[in-house]
Symmetry: C2
Subunit: 312 residues, 2 copies
Amino acid sequence: MRSWVESANGPSADFPLSNLPYGVFSRTAGPKDVRRVGVAIGDFVLDIAEAWAELVPSEPMLGYELFDEPSLNPFLAEGRVVWDFVRNQLQSWLSAGCPVLRDNTALRERAMIPLSQVELHMPIEIGNYTDFYASEYHATNVGSMFRPDNPLLPNWKNLPVGYHGRASSIVVSGTDVIRPCGQTKSDDAERPSFGPSRLLDYELEVGFVTGPGNEPGQRIPIEDAANHIFGLVLVNDWSARDMQKWEYQPLGPFLAKSFATTISPWVVPLDALAAVPRGDRTSAGRPEGAAVPRRCMGLGSRSETASRPADG
Amino acid sequence: MRSWVESANGPSADFPLSNLPYGVFSRTAGPKDVRRVGVAIGDFVLDIAEAWAELVPSEPMLGYELFDEPSLNPFLAEGRVVWDFVRNQLQSWLSAGCPVLRDNTALRERAMIPLSQVELHMPIEIGNYTDFYASEYHATNVGSMFRPDNPLLPNWKNLPVGYHGRASSIVVSGTDVIRPCGQTKSDDAERPSFGPSRLLDYELEVGFVTGPGNEPGQRIPIEDAANHIFGLVLVNDWSARDMQKWEYQPLGPFLAKSFATTISPWVVPLDALAAVPRGDRTSAGRPEGAAVPRRCMGLGSRSETASRPADG
């Protein structure tokens, strides 16, 4: 899948034509609050509204109006048919053989902005945020911090254990995270004490950005999940473990998590992952109430983390 | 405190001049999506924007524009100074001796709408919703359902135990609540089973609607709480106890709570409760990290619940 954007074609390119993640940008040279939805390709971001206005003027609602917006939410609300239509359109404009944007110098100069000349912002307005305890290895590992004798509780293999996080505390990658203050109590202390967390931890996670939603009381069959999941972001679920240990029973993690959660500025469409090779997991069995076994939708990805002390 | 609205003056009036709760209404005779913020007085709702446009045309932003809105959020974002200014203005217009609205028949007919001719809607757009485990009696009672030997955990007397609920599941009073389906597991069953909850419960609570908010990492001193709490609603925290028992460890209540939470359509300003006699509680002591003892802000209220079987 070659693009006429040369920087999109290398084997180490983050943003090849098969990816095309969506984000919200402002121009470094312009005001910060003039924001639009763009798509990353090679070293550029394509200003979708700008291209759409010229290339598909007959359907402004499906392009110009949806993307001349400071968040992806209006696009997310449209659902799978529009998501697919727009992605196909963008892939077509950016593919090597398509002249409509490639050979239109004036439009290209307006609509293709070097990534070095944009600032990236929160891509979505988050109405609700649920953190699932999704990996058996992670659940066992974290569980052993708090319950060494009993890390994985019996419900884990039967239902998706999760909790609601504080939607308003989600920030875009690069935002400073302030070390939280809170109560902690060591096992040998008689009383809790108050102060900055001394066990600030991170969790590398993948976040699912979902689409139009459903009416209360209407279930979404698991086979239909791909029609509701728009795409994925990387997530750092910052955690103050010392505060968490003292506060989390019986109602779950709260202030130990809600000071900040970081997401990537780019939302990778679900389709972009379909092409990535994956190692299939064996199913953990069919949970009660689900029509098909879980782990039916394998997604291929590799993630890495690294940390370094401040000023060594 | 007498009003020229006679139905506001009886000893059993829900909406006397000292209350003036805010809500969002549409006119039964008009389209449902034409919504405005109003204030309840006796058997009427005052269309604030309508009155403001005529009585304070020089300050539309503090009145007309704030209330010609389908939710209270723009008003909530203004903060304590504007909240007080508007409440004083409304109390003045509606008090027995003030002629500006009382004697203006044309305006009164446009702006004072009988409660029987309006439909009430969700008063606020909720960005985040936190459920605190706020009453010792309740915490002990619920705790004993799940942990008979150990109902009140040691953190309870030291910090505000709470969890985030699903903001999008909050509905206005009168909305049908659909009995949720989910996994449950009885103690003697080997496997969980799936089906409608058989232990649907309710919890009568008071909800605090908060104002402009704070920046991440900036603490709000507890002495300043009244500047951030706009008002109160009644809450029914519907709970599927059988689902809760099986799912709630270790991350807290989740699907057992997030199918619906009901709030009252009227938001009672904090000031309206200042006049209500209250029985002061003895303090539970000063939690670590708080500058003053908790329970410093007593609010007087009496609440009652009743239930009846369908077609009993």
